[in-house]
Point group: C2
């Protein structure tokens, strides 16, 4: 069965009938990163996102104890509508689960953050190749030396994702992604990995290395893994995120994120 809409995808996932990664599901609907934190950390984390909008673009915040989304997904359920969650205790991965209903707390605050999947479909539509999709790998990600603005207990350097872009298409890729400020926007850096503290481009800190061809330039975008790294550094006693590649699928069409939602 083809899964056509975000709503349909959430229903199938929420009912426990899909536990795999979400890329390819409900094509054209924006997928989002999830961070769930106890209320005592929520101000610091919201401020961290506010101060670092490029890597941490907020799509929706569910207030204390609320698990129903209203802005980016009608009636979405934060506790069930993601195929796989990661639970971190004191900064360490404790376990992966397919629902967080049984551990939900009244003081949980949930953050849905933009994800670069959104602008990738816009790049593909304009015939800009996405190497990690071609090679069926995860996008390569690197910890840079670009300091994020700290906020309370959260601090750290920016994580970037890298896509090799043919030299003649770099300008076009910048133009397209700059239209998506809610999902990381224009590149943070173009070329020369050492310039942002990446010592060896062949050794990503997260994800997989992809081929960079002779006529291609590595182009770096702010990455939604940045807040996760800041969270791991801060070691809150409890935090829940989506498992990598297992995202929250919204009702928002990718192209709607060209404007403010």
């Amino acid at each position: 069965m083809e899964i056509y809409t975000g709503k349909m995808a959430r229903k199938i996932i929420g009912e426990g009938n899909w536990e795999g990664p979400t890329p390819g599901l409900a094509q054209g609907y924006t997928q989002a990163n999830l961070v769930v934190l106890p209320y005592k950390y929520a101000f610091d984390f919201l401020l961290f996102c506010q101060r670092n909008p490029r890597p941490c673009p907020i799509l929706e915040v569910c207030e204390r104890g609320k698990y129903t989304t209203t802005k980016v997904a009608s009636n979405g359920d934060i506790r069930r509508d993601i195929p796989k969650y990661r639970i971190y205790e004191d900064g360490n991965l404790a376990r992966e689960v397919t629902s967080i209903e049984d551990i939900w707390q009244d003081d949980f605050v949930s953050f849905l953050l933009g994800c670069s999947f959104t602008f990738e479909s816009a790049l593909l539509k304009e015939d800009i190749p996405i190497r990690h999709i071609e090679e069926e790998r995860n996008v390569p990600m690197y910890i840079t030396n670009i300091e994020c603005a700290p906020a309370g207990i959260f601090s750290g350097t920016m994580v970037v994702s890298m896509r090799p872009i043919p030299r003649r298409l770099v300008e076009k890729a910048v133009e397209i992604t700059s239209q998506f400020p809610k999902v990381h926007g224009a590149p943070i850096h173009i070329g020369n990995p050492e310039g942002i503290g990446i010592k060896d481009i062949t050794l990503p800190d997260f994800g997989d290395m992809v081929t960079i061809k002779d006529d291609e330039v590595p182009v770096f975008w702010a990455c939604g893994v940045t807040p996760q790294v800041a969270i791991m550094r801060a070691k809150p006693d409890l935090v829940i995120t989506h498992a990598p590649g297992h995202m929250f699928i919204t009702d928002v069409r990718d192209e709607e994120l060209k404007k403010d939602v």
Copy 2:
């Protein structure tokens, strides 16, 4: 003595040598609204601002207990660098003071929000008249029927400021102010006051009425009084704001706010 820079203005104000309104001081430097709240309200208020960026554009947040600004003003002191503060208790104005050093609490969180003074100088530069400046009055402000997105204890409708603009210059005024997203941006509404719930344009809820000439259209912008109205509704036990017209003067040049700060 001419006060040339934001830094100079803050020094004179901070030392207690200026207790008057700030318009006209340090021309070209952006002035900001201030809201100081105990930490227990800070997440809700930050989320209210995040959800309502047009009326509540955040320029800087000083974290719990911190009173030194770093982003929009080097070494500014939230406790002293405003000529007049208002202290509200349980939603009621308790008193006005020229310093809050003696009542400062370790749990205070401070928010500096953008102010339309910034785009007014850009309008004037392009020969668009600002009636309330011509008539030496405060800008007229109205409570509309446009609901803000609520957040925790904070809710309410949007407050707008109104400037009569000659019909042939409306497009230009839209174009200029849309370049200033950090200070309310483009108009929220043009013409027809009833369309946004304003029953009598001659009776502003705040500020003073100004003349609207025959060839002029009332143009409405989101206003920084919106969060103050939301705060008054919520009746926190303690909140401190600047007194109207007695703003925090930053080191940021007005034109810098054309981009993100």
